[in-house]
Amino acid sequence: MDKKITTQSIIAFARNNLIILGIFVLAIITTFVEPNFLTVENLQNIMRQFGPLIMLSLGMTFIIMGGFIDLSVGGIISLVAVVTVSLIDSIGQVAALIVGIVIGLICGLLNSFLIIKGGAFKQSEALFLTYGMSVVFTAVALIYTGAAPVFLTYSKTDYSIFTAIGEGFVGPVSVSFIIFFVCLLILYIIESKTHIGRSICLTGGNMTAARLAGIPTEKTIVFIYAVSGIMAAIGAVVLASRVTIASPIMGKGYETQAILAVVVGGTALLGGKGSVLRTVIGTLLIIMMSNCLNLLGVTTYIQYMLRGAILILAIWLDNRKQYSEGN
């Protein structure tokens, strides 16, 4: 393989990384137009938003690599957040956190159980099924709280550990960054070195062939949804700890952002190929984009539209790549 740089290869690179380049251009424009962009405060602000989203995006990466999709993470975030925050006073913060993560795990297992028992092995079927589950999880959160937000009461209870997750620092590094980094490391090792990691890619590449060759595809499905549930729960905790309030609809819209982050990062939406490392870049880009647009004074609603447009563009580029490789 010769790696000479030619005009052609530059054009091909540009085409394959259109979205990433586009967001960089946006960042450069923002730097010039709005000097606030490159301030320490703003960069910290970007890192703050990075926290919750990256957690579920990492989980979503495994799901999409396995050829599936999980729209229920928004519902899981809402449910985990309200339950965790409401339990701190009664059972203590560590126990509440454990309960929160376990709820995320249970939600994920429930998704995979329904997918396997319902035979929803196509991505589109999983999409509808997890959408349904998202509605269910949100409804449970609404019933649990009586549709009202849950606050930290700041009574005698100790909130130090809980608030540290979102706001604390160890030296110069934020606690949420350490959590992110540990999760990334674990997931990356799983993805690149282990049997289950390979099984995820193989299941996403061709589930029928993988199953017939003795790959435990059903176990793989259980695994990716369990990871997605846990990661969504961690995201929920980081988010709730930062805002010290949990609403039963606070997770709404996070699933789209997570899918966007994964796909923009370059994981194939159809499964089989991808990496959590790419998702880190994808997530950064998505948050940077929204930050730039905020600074440039673009309203939230137009930003929603842009996010939709980018998702469509990403799918289109991905399919085109697959199509040209397919010949």
Binding site: L202, G272, E325, N327
Partner: protein, 494 residues
Amino acid sequence: MDKSHSDPILEIKEVSKAFPGVKALDRVSLEVFRGTIHGIVGENGAGKSTLMKILSGVYQKDSGEIFFDGNKIEDITPVQSMKMGLSIIYQELNLVNTMTVGENVFLGRFSEMGGRKEVHAKARVLLDSIGCKIDTEKEVSELSVSDKQMIEIAKALSFDSKLIIMDEPSSSLTADEMLELIKIIYDLKNKGISIIYISHKLDEIFDFCDVVTVMRDGHVIATRNIDVISRNEMISMMVGRTIENEYPPRPNYVGETVLEVENINTKLLKNVHFNLKKGEILGLVGLVGSGRTETVRAIFGADKVKNKSIQIDGKLVSINNPIDAIKHGIALVPEDRKIQGLLLQFSVDKNISLASLGELTHYGFINEKEERDISERQIKALNVKTPSGKTRIQLLSGGNQQKAILGRWLELKPKILVLDEPTKGIDVGAKYEIYLLMKKIVEDGGSIILISSELPEVLNMSNRVITICNGRITGEFDPLLASADEIMAKAFEF
């Protein structure tokens, strides 16, 4: 007809086409004359499909010239090529299953035909002209493959085609349906329409083609009139060397029973039972849909079947999924290579190591060095032609893909190897290599269950043949003693 044999309808001059890493066509020249049936043969990867895709406008050529009906054609789209009178009927037919026959014939041209209702009358005329009696109001999903092919032919005629290219039309037809197709091909020829007939089945080429072109590795090796070429010549041109026999001599050591299957019942299968001996190749003969694939899938645990009894080496075993089957030394090379066998986007290495992945894993981690060793060993042992183990398997020819799948299983040294259509769509040279491999497997003490639609293959390779029809085992034969007719009669015993 008077113009035939002098005036070409299609002239291809020095056409080349390269894909990254492969020269798919290298200065290919070819003339097809009016009113002739022109066969094209060649191994997979010889360049037949690429050439056809250039003609139909799916690909653009890199260099060279193409003249169709006297006009030079350059950068055409598939629709333009059809309107010029050049139609291609692909192996995987291009019909909309949820629409009616009439609508399919004039798909996308309802307004030109005067509306969606009008198409039926016009489709009727075309179908009648090829002697086809299908109701034009019928939905395509209800039709058999051969009927669908008729619809494609009617569609080609509706464009007033001067040249119809048929890509492996016979691969899913029964013998009777094939006779129908041959009749229609002759009909078309008599109407002055030229046919390019691409096939792996040399018998068909000899049966009704006028001229044959042999391609290999992106080159045209020769174009000959059919009456001056012999079968062996054709084969040696295709593979670039001489092959003495199409089948190796059959091994004949058969030992004690390794597999005893009883009581397989599903919606389709009725009390299927048989046994397999050590060192035996057992041929399972039946029509598509007879239950032959369902039988082996049930044994392999690919489909859940309750209350079946499977004994291996005399011991009752429970097989509920492929993982169980593999543990008990059973391997399955499935029928549809691309859908059930391969991970097309993955490397040759990863496709080969697939079934051994469990063995390569220690404490959850894959040993990548061992993985490469396995792949290297199998690539070498089976002579898989690939630039490297890292090459995407999609880029290999069908024969090499199939060898890679075999390598995947042979690494596990299975006791029982099930081969479902192992040579489907594979060229003569690779077929022979696969036969040799089968022979070696049984000589090393393995046993094989062989399913194939090609009766000569089953008869020449098997030690014993059982027939299955409509989900029941209908007969058992020694292929040395039974005739093909006797066996087929049992395969049709409904």
